[in-house]
Symmetry: C2
Subunit: 557 residues, 2 copies
């Protein structure tokens, strides 16, 4: 799409497409897309349509509201344009984008909308969609991510999912899943609605459960304000807390390396591999969470860095198919920080900041779970795969832990160990609702119990492998060969087959709305994106807006 | 693939690839594929590899064992070839097949393996895989569908899923899902196993849960016999019942029509539509199930006909994208037959034959649920959408029920009615574990209760629409236009987008192993099948066996 790298670090001062205003417990996120502000040349962002750049700002705004505004309890999403709420993803942008860009774009927008739902569910920041004009496609899907949807009742505004009839693709940002599984629209009505390009408005939209209420224009402002206040009243967010500024993330970036304060990545284009190193905390945790309120606080800082790294690599480095994770540091310090977070966020204490960090880490790890790269964890002497950082190893497709030490390098080193912590047993759930440890031992209760029982105990390679917590435990002699073979082999396989393999094995067990969006919905959408009926020269996506009808191969597959 | 139509009606006398032997409670299904017996020219079915023709025979054998052999309690699947159990789907066949053929082939093979699991779970016929040689790819997936997997321990036989490393595609017949969700192989071991082309055998295969036991050759026969006897001992199948022969299905077929005794289909190539008419029972149900033991028994006969019709249309008529279902007959008779089945199959009574018919109907309706065609039900005066036949309307993406009568045709007719029966409230579950009525009202308990409460009551259009049991209730004046618009509109949309839309909306709510196979796994596989890395001229699937390595676009999507 573009030779320039996409940058995910933005700040409100430089937003081009969104306005954030805070009024006590109610924040308003106003979408007012700059038509000329597309991320790459070649399209105009008319009618509040969006591209990745618009969504990067939205993601940033959602994050900042959680950390910088503890007082905000309701977030109203509305439009700054007359008569249109949001027209969804920009079609010219989609039509011109290569397949990989489309898929990555949809993944990120999905994650942002899941984050909106997570703010509502986990953070006491409830999202309200004030749909003050027509919401079509991704525009309605944005509303669907909100807890409450208000539609202006003016005889012209409607909600719609016109992707199937107009574009020959699916609503790709969770629409179908949320219509059926969240809003419980009956399947036949949903089917009809999703093939009716002009959508449904007014009372019928309420009756079909597509929106929660339709409000006439004269009563619009007061009703939105009343609903926002009602939702705010249900929240447990603190009254007089000061926010924590998400200060600019320091980062160095060139073709070969990405560096942050706690995270470093070495990009190896020859082998298609990224070596990622995460540093443990540089010092003891503060005495209490009150002394921790800063973006420098290690758990928050390292999570922000990981988050940015994942997004950068996913978007800018599709050719690097294997990510190898290492950690460096003191496991006891990692566990100490985890303990502070857990003790502060737990029932009774319920510190908002500790709660936000835990959920942010949860979301960042979930981003890893749906990343289409092979993930390998390498556990060596001096590493700190304990508690929260052990999740990186548990998220990996395979892990290697050195048995013993590197005799030639440091024969007196402590052998590598991993440590299960309390944090691995609860809060950091995957999108299927299970912890990574539960997913690992899905269907093997005894295995789970045996591993969980060793909580707090440093486990050397033989032990960890015996318990099933790591995959392989080679010794010094075999180490280099085994790692080399694993990564070389991975690089020799079809990248598409690996993506499918990983997308299946990473999600054993139950499915949720979130996993259905990344599994059932996304996989079908990716298939459709790749089909000539959508993306071929005569396909619906390419022909949209040209005045020419699409030409379809009518055979059903 | 072929100009000739594929025929799904086969009989054991003409099997080319399988031998069925029955010895009291134990049947043995021996796979011995005729290399020259491929369904279409161009490939040899070496090493017990299979194509659709081989699997059609397997499906037939599985069906017949349930109906014709009430005495059979264990079915042993084994190979008649030395050193090889089954090499999976034939690669040359796959490589030469167009995309739609691959997808349809995988769907059918998946359904057959789900049927094997259904026999084990619902019928007291437990499948045992006696893997007496190497089982790779679809060969191992066939074993995975069995309840118990025995692998011969001879230092050479192994189970493997070499699709990713050798072919650049996924194991497409449930392999990944069953490895993780049925056999609970740990995700990292599963990942390793699925990239190791030569597979895993012996003790390690047991340790990793890939098989249940590894048995040395000298003890092979006796151990297989012992396990078969043990599994048979757990069954509740009757001791001295006589089977019901699945007599040849009478069928007429030309380019424009397909006709059976109770089911007729008119193929309209201009509009891409099939009009399917299902006739209700021609007479009263017999006094008891004992008098019903024949393939002529209406519920069995009509299910067999529907089953064959679905398979025929899916495979031979991909250009006909919309199926319109009508019924003709007396709703009271349908309900009468349903009642006989339910009373006979219910706890206490537990008649094996009634039980088999109910599960067969369940499986056939599930076939409809995963059929990539738009399904429309049309409910007119004289129809019998009641009980079991109401499921056709509940399976449809949309339904139309005439309000009132056709004034010009028969002003004195009884208005069309639908009737919820007891059978709609339980046994005919979808693959997500819900009844179609539960799925329809997913998240709407009150709606479900209101509909279920009207059980047994004929519901006219306004009532049925008010209760949410049908989609639209137009009157005589609008009827033709509404139906015409619905089908014309459907025919104008992208067939791929419709497939994705339907695959999402038909499966609201929970997911099971079966829905994961048709959702997550299949959708990813279809995407991969469509990618140049697999199916392009230099892709892995096309290059397999040529001595040339595949050339991959290394970018991850």
């Amino acid at each position: 799409m573009t030779e320039e790298r996409v940058e995910f670090r933005v700040s409100p001062r430089h937003y081009r497409h969104w306005r954030v205003t805070c009024d006590g417990p109610v924040a308003t996120l106003t979408m007012d897309v700059d038509e000329q502000g597309g991320l790459v040349p070649g399209y105009e962002l008319k009618l509040n349509s969006y591209d990745l750049g618009v969504d990067i700002e939205l993601y940033d705004a959602v994050q900042r509201l959680r950390f910088e505004h503890p007082e905000v309890r309701t977030v109203v999403i509305t439009s700054g344009k007359p008569k249109v709420f949001c027209a969804g993803a920009n079609i010219r942008m989609l039509a011109a984008s290569p397949h990989g860009w489309k898929v990555n774009f949809c993944k990120f927008t999905n994650e942002t909308r899941n984050g909106i739902e997570d703010a509502t569910a986990s953070s006491g920041q409830t999202y309200l969609a004030a749909v003050n004009g027509t919401a079509s496609g991704g525009g309605y899907e944005l509303a669907l991510a909100c807890e409450h949807i208000m539609l202006i009742d003016d005889r012209s505004s409607a909600v719609s999912l016109p992707e199937v009839p107009l574009l020959g693709v699916l609503p790709g940002t969770g629409g179908l899943t949320r219509v059926s599984d969240k809003r419980h629209v009956r399947r036949d009505l949903a089917d009809y609605f999703s093939t009716k390009a002009e959508g449904v408005g007014g009372k019928k939209a309420v009756q079909w459960r597509l929106v929660d209420e339709a409000v006439p224009r004269p009563r619009w402002d007061e009703t939105v304000a009343a609903r926002a206040a009602e939702l705010a009243a249900r929240s447990g967010r603190p009254q007089n807390a000061a926010g924590v500024a998400l200060t600019p993330l320091a980062k160095t970036r060139d073709d070969d390396a990405i560096g942050y304060h706690h995270v470093e990545a070495a990009l190896d284009r020859d082998t298609g591999k990224v070596d990622i190193s995460v540093k443990g905390p540089p010092n003891d945790p503060p005495a209490g969470i009150a002394q921790a309120r800063s973006a420098e606080f290690w758990p928050l800082a390292v999570t922000r860095e990981l988050d940015d790294l994942i997004l950068d690599l996913r978007t800018n480095e599709p050719g690097l198919g294997t990510w190898v994770f290492r950690t460096v540091g003191d496991p006891a310090l990692v566990l100490g920080y985890d303990e502070l977070l857990l003790a502060s966020a737990g029932a009774g204490a319920a510190d908002w900041f500790a709660n936000e960090i835990l959920h942010y880490l949860k979301r960042t790890l979930r981003r890893l779970d749906v990343t289409s790269r092979s993930l390998i964890a390498v556990i060596e002497p001096g590493s700190c795969f304990a508690g929260s950082l052990l999740e990186l190893a548990l998220a990996a497709d395979r892990s290697f832990q050195l048995a013993g030490v590197f005799e030639d390098i440091d024969p007196d080193a402590e052998p590598a160990a991993i440590t299960v912590g309390e944090i691995n047993l609860g809060p950091l759930t995957m999108s299927n609702g299970l912890t990574r440890l539960q997913a690992r031992f899905w269907g093997d209760e005894a295995g789970y119990e045996a591993a969980a029982k060793r909580k707090g105990e440093p486990l050397a390679a033989e032990d960890a492998a015996g318990l099933g917590l790591v995959t392989f435990a080679p010794d010094d002699i075999d180490w280099d060969d085994e790692l080399r073979i694993a990564t070389e082999e991975r690089a020799s396989f079809s990248p598409d087959a690996l993506t499918g393999l990983e997308a299946n094995y990473r999600f054993a067990g139950p499915e949720t709305m979130e996993t259905k969006i990344f599994g059932r919905l996304t996989a079908w959408q990716n298939w459709i994106f790749n089909r000539p009926n959508a993306s071929g020269p005569d396909g619906a996506l390419r022909r949209f807006g040209t005045g020419q009808r699409a030409v379809f191969d009518r055979k059903r597959v």
